[in-house]
Each structure stands twice: as structure tokens, then as C-alpha cells.
Symmetry: C2
Subunit: 163 residues, 2 copies
């Protein structure tokens, strides 16, 4: 019994510490937070979400007051995301190059450095590099209940090529 009690006290103390730490670390309680370049991680776009070579460099994560993350995504020519949706929408800002985007039922649109694209909540869409150019865009993506995207089927060559 003694051991159980000690364990219970330890767990309780740890739980309190954890809650305390989480509370102190909560983004919303900081006057400001600086996310330094290169500290937020990066990854290659996984094959079950993307076609071709895609690199993602995170710029900032979500916080309690701002449920949006921002990743700088670079698509090689012809590389593209799968079709997908976002529960509370996504804003793209093209920072370099030329690419395409399309929503389900719409036409493929060409987007260039300085253009921004709002994709409404739950709208099925894709984005990627153009045939001959890389594209880099910021992807400011909303998260709801821990989900920021619902991934679907790849964009076929026929879909990608259709103007």
C-alpha cells in the first residue's frame, strides 16, 4: 500500500508540474514569441500526400490565440500536392516562381510571386509547381480539433495537364 500511495503522490505531483509547465509555456500567456529562422523544422513532402519532390520548411506553429501554422513549401516543376481539404481554410502567399492551383470543379489557375490564394474551409483543391518552374509559397493553414488537412487521391497527369 505504501508503494502505491507513494506512486499516487508522485503521479499527482508530476501531473501538477506538467499542468503548471504547460500553463507557463502556453503561447497565449507570452507577450510575444519569436520563432527564429531554421528552428521550426523541415521535411520532405511524403509520397502519400504529394507527387514529386516537395520540401517544407516550417516558419511558425499554431498557438492558442492563432490556430494557424505557416510552412514555406517548395515544389519542383510538375510536383504537386494530392487533392485535399482544410477544415478552416488556408491562405497561400507565393514567394517565388510559378505554380498552379485548382479547386474541384474549377479551372487550373497559374499563380506567381506576390499572388495570394484563399481556399475556403472544406473545399477540395491542390497546388504545385508549373510544368517548367519551381514554386515556393507560404501555406498559412488553420487547425481545428488537431486536424489541418484531410488528404485524398493524387492529382493525375491528365488533371495536372488540363488547362
Amino acid at each position: 500500500m505504501k508503494k502505491v500511495l507513494k506512486t499516487a503522490i508522485l503521479v499527482g505531483t508530476l501531473a501538477t508540474l506538467f499542468v503548471g509547465t504547460a500553463s507557463i509555456a502556453s503561447a497565449s500567456e507570452e507577450p510575444h514569441i519569436i520563432y527564429r529562422k531554421g528552428t521550426q523544422g523541415s521535411f520532405e513532402g511524403p509520397a502519400n500526400w504529394f507527387t514529386g519532390k516537395v520540401h517544407v520548411e516550417m516558419i511558425f506553429p499554431t498557438n492558442k490565440d492563432f490556430p494557424y501554422s505557416n510552412g514555406l513549401v517548395t515544389f519542383q516543376p510538375k510536383a504537386r500536392s494530392n487533392w485535399h481539404t482544410h477544415p478552416i481554410g488556408q491562405m497561400l502567399v507565393v514567394t517565388k516562381g510559378v505554380g498552379y492551383t485548382q479547386y474541384w470543379g474549377g479551372k487550373r489557375e497559374t499563380i506567381r510571386e506576390g499572388d495570394a490564394v484563399w481556399c475556403s474551409p472544406t473545399v477540395k483543391h491542390w497546388h504545385g509547381g508549373s510544368h517548367n518552374n519551381t514554386m515556393t509559397h507560404m501555406a498559412i493553414t488553420g487547425t481545428k480539433d488537431g486536424v489541418n488537412a484531410v488528404w485524398m487521391e493524387p492529382v493525375t497527369d491528365e488533371q495536372y495537364n488540363k488547362e
Copy 2:
């Protein structure tokens, strides 16, 4: 009376048209919206909000599903915003150069290309170019009840210079 009635009908019709148009134009009802570079307007930072030369080029406005606008703000060296707050916070992403930011009670921080800064709701702060460099940042700024900033007093040279 006839004239009054006609006027009433005209006003009623115009109101219906207006509401109809507004509804069709509502951002949230579009699958996506493309904001082309250079179409969102630009302005010089007004003297009652800024010290020195500051240029703002809008990238995207708020929409019903995303109450954040984004302006690309360029500060000349030593130029800076007044002290101010944002009702639901602001995310800065530095796209060029070197600048400073500071919240009330905190230290002046140097920020560089690729850094991002979250400023929490209602926290008094300022941002600007460094002593010898211009800085350009995106300012992703939340709007609540039509207000995106509460402007306060200028940052004095003494405040600006203090490391």
C-alpha cells in the same frame, strides 16, 4: 406622396440589390479567391501611426472565414511604428533586412529575414527598421469588430536606442 412612394421603392430595390451583391461577393461563399500581386493597394505609413518613412503594400484583406489581413511593410532605417496593440494579435514574418521589435516592459529584440514574431492580443508593442538597415515584414493582423489596431504614442529616440 407618389414621389415618396417611388423613392421608398427605389431605396428598397437598391437595398435588395446591395444585399444581393454583397452576398454573392462574400468571401466565404467562394471556393477560392486569388489576390493578384499589386491589386490590393498600397500606402505610405501615416505620421500619426509611424515615425519616419514606412511603405505598406497590401497582400490580402480579411474575409469572413479568416479575419486576418496581410500587409508587406517596409521600414527605412530608424523608421518605426508607434506603440500600439492588436485586439486579437498579430504575426510578423520578416521577408528582408534587419529590424527591431519590443513589447512594453520587454527588451528591444533584433529580427532578421526568416524570423517570425507573434504578438499576443492587447500587448503593447512596436516594430521598425534597425539603425542601419531597412526591414520588410509581412504583418498578418487580426480584426475584431472592425478594429485591427489601437494606436498610441510614438516610440521616442531614447526608447528606440535602448538595447
